[in-house]
Every structure is written in C-alpha cells, then in structure tokens.
C-alpha cells in the first residue's frame, strides 16, 4: 500500500448526501476478477449517459477535476452494500482522500484497508471546503496526516481526528497485512507451539 503522509491535490466538489455504493460502483461490475480497472466505472450512473457517452456536467468529467485526488462531499457517503469494489473504484480513479460530515461504517473501514483516508469534518467546514474545491485548478487542498490538518488554499489550517492505529498504518503505508506481518515471529511461535500441543491437526495434502 502507498503511504499516506502529505497529499496536495485537486479537490472535486460533490455536493450531495447519501451517495451509495451502487452509485460509486454498480453491481453489474462486481463479476470482475480484479480490483484494478474499476476507475473507469467509478460513479458510473452519475458520470455516463445510457449510450456510454460522458455527461459533460458531471464534475469528474470536467477539467481539472478529471485529475482530482480529493473528494469533498456530504453526509453518509458510501452507504449501501459492503462491496470493497467501492474503495477499489475510487482508488483506481485516483482519489486518495474523501472529506465528508459522515461515512457509512463498512465503507469507512474499507477505505483504510485500501489506502484511502476518509476525513470526518462538520457540515459547515465541508461547505467551506466545497467552495474552495469549486475554484478549480488554482485551488488545491493539502491534507497533512502527520499533523492531522487540512490546509485550505488561503493557508487556514483545519484540524481533524483519526483513529491512532489507522493513522499509523496509513503513514507507514502498511495495510492490515503489512502490520500483521510485523508480528510474524509471534505467528511462527504460535504455529510451533500448536504443532507440539495439537499434533492431530491435519494438513491438507492431496495425493
């Protein structure tokens, strides 16, 4: 997983509440066998017409937001199913950070597992950031995870909270797996003790 330390980038304004996982990535794209490649269909129903052509009004179809790395949106982002395809689609599009007043629980957890930082900030703060984002290419937001600050184009710093363990993992670029592998010696010890105490535990060997 790519570490998340300081991100300065274009923020796209998505002034809507309750954007669900079916909007982020519709179920017909779930039969895939990859997690990469979903960016093309991120926000599919909002982004494309029925004939597959782009909706010119949709923010991510416009410059400079095609290169957005931060999303600013409203309440309950990511509600709906537990599909991990939702963060996979955002990441594949290039989004590394989502700022909103609230997130759906499972989606929130899935973001961290995939190197995306979801930041909860009060509605009025999100509204102010939404205005910054609407300024386009001249207005970049900086997200400093080390110091837990969002820095507006005018230099104003907005503090945010994030779970300490989650923060550490993102800073170090460790996914859950990377973190657990730091405990590999403990896992090995456990396996050795177990082999001694439960020799009956079968290994699967197909002949």
């Amino acid at each position: 997983m790519q570490p998340f330390t300081i991100l300065t980038g274009i923020a796209a304004p998505l002034p809507e509440a309750n954007i669900d996982t079916d909007k982020i990535i519709p179920s017909r794209f779930l039969k895939t066998i990859q997690r990469s490649g979903l960016g093309r269909n991120a926000f599919d129903p909002m982004r494309y017409n029925e004939d597959g052509s782009e909706k010119p009004d949709f923010v991510l179809n416009r410059e400079p937001y095609r290169h957005a790395e931060i999303l600013v949106t409203y309440e309950n982002f990511g509600c709906g199913s537990s599909r991990e395809h939702a963060p996979w689609a955002l990441l594949d599009f290039g989004i590394r950070c989502v700022i909103a007043p609230s997130f759906a629980d499972i989606f929130h957890g899935n973001c961290f597992k995939n190197g995306i930082l979801p930041i909860r900030l009060p509605r009025d703060v999100c509204e102010a950031l939404m205005q910054d984002a609407a300024q386009g290419g001249n207005s970049r937001l900086t997200v400093d995870l080390e110091r837990q600050r969002v820095i507006r184009p005018d230099g104003e710093e907005i503090p945010f909270e994030v779970d300490a363990m989650r923060r550490r993992l993102l800073l170090e670029g460790l996914d859950d797996i990377g973190q657990t592998l730091q405990h590999a010696p403990a896992i090995e010890r456990f396996e050795q003790n177990r082999a001694a105490s439960s020799p009956w535990m079968p290994s699967i060997v197909l002949t």
Binding site: A186, M201, P202
Partner: protein, 465 residues
C-alpha cells in the same frame, strides 16, 4: 467460567493490541471462486506468498451449472471466475477439488464431510454461511475479500471478541418437525438482527438430540439471525461423525484429539450476555411468508395482516412484502400454490436432507405443472444417495436429479426462478430476487418441500406421513 466461544478464541490468540484487537490464528481457510480472485491478485501484486497452502482448500460452487458436467460452462463471466480460480490454485499450490471430481460441492458441505472442518478449529471463508461449520464445535465465520487476502498472507485475522449468546432448546421435537423448523422458529423469535455482535451457542436437549446435519442446518442460519457465528459443543454425536473421514485424524491422533475436544464445553458457571429459551414441543413445521427469514408462520396458520403491525413503518413494510410475494392477508398458507420446489443448498443439501425428502416422496408423484429439483450439496452426497437408491425415488416422483452446487439458492448460475414464480425452497434466504429476479421464495424444511411438490401447494407434511 469461560464459554465455549471464549475457550476456542483464547486458544487462537497470537497477539493483542492495546485496543483489544487480537491477531487470531486461523486453522482452516476455505476458498471459492467468487470472493477470492482479488485476494490472489493482491498477493501477486505485493509479492507475498500464501502462508499455509496446507491449511487451505478451494472448490467451485456458486457459479457452476448443475447440469451435465461434461458440457462447457456457457456464461462467460462464470467461466472466467472458475478458470481464474483454477489458475490461482495452480500458481499458489492450493489443494483444490475440481468441478469434475466427486469431492466437489458447496464449500460448507465439503468441509465437514471431508473431515477438513474439525472441533476446536477456527475456520473462515469469504462467505457468510461459513457459520455452518460451527455445528462441529468450531469457531467459523465469513469474511470479506481483504480479509481473505489477510488470511492467505498471514494465516491470521485481526478481530475483536464477540459477545456470547446462548439459545436453549429443551424437550423433544414433534414428528414432522426438523432442525430447519427449529432455526426458523429461533429467527422468528429473535429477528434478523437478534444475534448482532454475538456468537450464538445452541444448547439444550433438543439440540443434543439432533444429528450433525441438523446441527449444521441450525448453525448455517445463525447469520440470518444476525450472529457472527453459531456453535454447538462437540459431543459423542460429533466424534462419531468425524471419525474415519478422509482428512480427520486417525488412530492414536484421533483419540488425542477427542480428549481435547471433550474440554470444549461452556463451563457450568459461564456467563452469557444473552440467553434465550425455546420449548421444542411448541415448534410446528414453519414456512416464511415474507422476504426476510424472520417472517415465519406455522404451516397451519394464515398470512399475517399488516393492520396488526405494531407501527406504521412495519405496516408499510409488511404490505410491500405481501405485494412482492403475491399474497393476501388472512390467506391460509396451505392454500398457496407453488410453481417450483428446490431441495438443496448448504442449509439442506446433505444426505440426511435427501433421505427426509425421499421418505415423503416414496410412491408419490410431483403435482402437475410443478418444477421440482434436488441438488445434492456435493458429489459425495450424490453418490451416497444413488447408492441408497434415493435418486430413483426422486426421479420416479418426477424430480430433476442434478449435479452438486449452490444452484437455485442464489441467482448466480443457470438455475433461476423467472419473475413471479413461487418456490418452496430449503435454502436460507428469501430476499427479493435471491433465487432470480422477481422470484418468490418460501423457506421450509426438506420434508415440507417434498410435501409441497406432491400437492402443488404449501402443505403440512404431517398430513402425508
């Protein structure tokens, strides 16, 4: 004072973080074609190895057609998922039961019958019905795709302990009442969110009296009661079931294992966060009438009236369900005609379920116009049933006798309901569209499903035996 859950949990904690999260060791990882491709891809991209191929087993079940196995798989997306799994198990050295092997079947039927799922183990799979394996006294639960990859890479999971719930079913089940009815009664009682945050231990004389297939039916649907996992303490029935299975320990190792397994009971003074009690005698054969597994009613009853709902939201929800199901309030359940009958799934696709259905069907015929199918849970179940002559009973009655797989439990393979079709089904979920878009599902036991096939309507099996 630990509960059975506490004992299995404690035996698998590798390490703990300050916030209570544990690194939990996983003894057995079951893999199928739908939730594994991205996990294998993740390993590949990060250059990680699969830590314990010898603790992992793969099968294909969700996507597979249940027709002639010599034919190619037509649906390209399904074929791709199956071929991808086959490439992945090859590359990572995972033991695999191929589609054409007799060992293939639904992952939750295969694990126990091969002796791959054993008491005291931690067992996971990227599938919510992994709770099934808890019937052996194992801590077994479903996980997401990132967690599948986590187990592949580390043979552990990051978990916080669950709360303990005990469900006691005391007494003797009446004739015609099965494990499926017991579980539907439990879900009807506590609701689909009743077990949220808990692991449920099922206990009491009625549970002790069940065979392993019945216990698996109950633990299978723990997830429909909202629980993370279900458990039944291992006993003589469990040990007899495990003994001699292909991967189970043999000889002295088996005796040593049993000595340990005997310690896997909740202590007398164990404290449960929640205790629920049911009287076995009060349980009748049940069917669902709505689109949630908690919407159950005795077969002798009538479709409930939304006007009787406790609040406006529930009234509206009941009305929506009745509209979807094409039922009217007050209608007798026994007058509801069915178009299809499905016997199978990881809930009721075992040999005992086949026998229970065959007992009702012997010498009888499927009602005209009803499509009835039996889908054994695995190739081994199928072979056993054929050896016992059950296939003849089904075929003579007019049932289709199919190859193993998830089949009509979910609309992911060619076995589907068409819009508006009504099905008496032994599976576990009656959600809208679960068995195919617009399909209407009534959950019930195998014997009740057989009875419905014979009369062409939902039927009290006690009238036929």
């Amino acid at each position: 004072m630990p509960t059975l859950f506490d004992k299995i949990w404690d035996a698998h904690v590798v390490d703990r973080f300050e916030d209570g999260t544990a690194i939990l060791y996983i003894d057995r990882h079951l893999v199928h074609e739908v939730t594994s491709p991205q996990a294998f891809e993740g390993l590949r991209l990060s250059g990680r190895r699969l830590r314990r191929p010898d603790a992992t087993i793969a099968v294909v079940d969700h996507n597979v057609p249940t027709s002639d196995r010599s034919l190619p798989i037509e649906e390209p997306q399904s074929r791709l998922q199956i071929e991808t799994l086959e490439r992945n198990v090859e590359e990572f050295g995972v033991p695999y039961f191929p589609l054409k092997s007799r060992d293939q079947g639904i992952v939750h039927v295969v694990g126990p019958e091969q002796g791959l799922s054993l008491p005291g183990m931690t067992i996971v799979c990227g599938d919510s019905h992994t709770s099934t394996h808890g019937a052996l006294g194992a801590l077994a639960f479903g996980i997401g795709t990132s967690e599948v990859e986590h187990v592949m890479a580390t043979q552990t999971l990051l978990q916080k302990p669950a709360k303990n719930m005990k469900i006691l079913v005391e007494g003797t089940l009446a004739p015609g009442v099965s494990a499926k009815d017991v579980m539907l009664a439990i879900i009807g009682r506590i609701g689909t969110a009743g077990g949220t945050g808990h692991v449920i231990e099922f206990a009491g004389s009625a549970i002790r009296g069940l065979d392993m297939a019945g216990r698996m039916t109950i633990c299978n649907m723990s997830i429909e009661a909202g629980a993370r996992a279900g458990l039944v303490a291992p006993d003589e029935t469990t040990f007899a079931y495990v003994k001699g299975r292909r991967f189970a320990p043999q000889g002295a190792a088996f005796d040593q294992a049993v000595a340990y397994w005997r310690t896997l009971v909740s202590d007398e003074d164990a404290v449960f966060d929640t205790v629920i009690e049911l009287a076995a005698e009060e349980i009748a054969p049940l069917v669902t009438w709505g689109t949630s597994p908690e919407d159950v009613v005795a077969i002798t009853g009538t479709v409930p009236d939304p006007a009787s709902a406790a609040d406006e939201a529930r009234r509206a929800q009941m009305q929506r369900m009745l509209d979807y199901m094409g039922l009217t309030a007050g209608q007798k359940l026994s007058e509801v005609a069915v178009d299809a009958v499905f016997i199978g799934s990881c809930t009721n696709g075992r040999i005992e379920d086949m026998r229970a259905a065959a007992r009702v069907l012997a010498g009888r015929r499927v009602a005209p116009g009803v499509r009835a199918m039996v889908v054994p849970g695995s190739g081994l179940v199928k072979a056993q049933a054929e050896q016992e002559g059950l296939d003849r009973i089904f075929l003579d009655a007019g049932f289709e006798w199919r190859e193993a797989g998830c089949s009509m439990c979910l609309g992911m393979n060619p076995d589907k309901l068409t819009p508006g079709q009504r099905c008496a089904s032994t599976s576990n979920r009656n959600f809208e569209g679960r068995q195919g878009p617009g399909g209407r599902t009534h959950l019930l036991s195998p014997a009740m499903a057989a009875a419905a096939a014979v009369t062409g309507r939902l039927t009290d099996v006690r009238e036929l035996v």
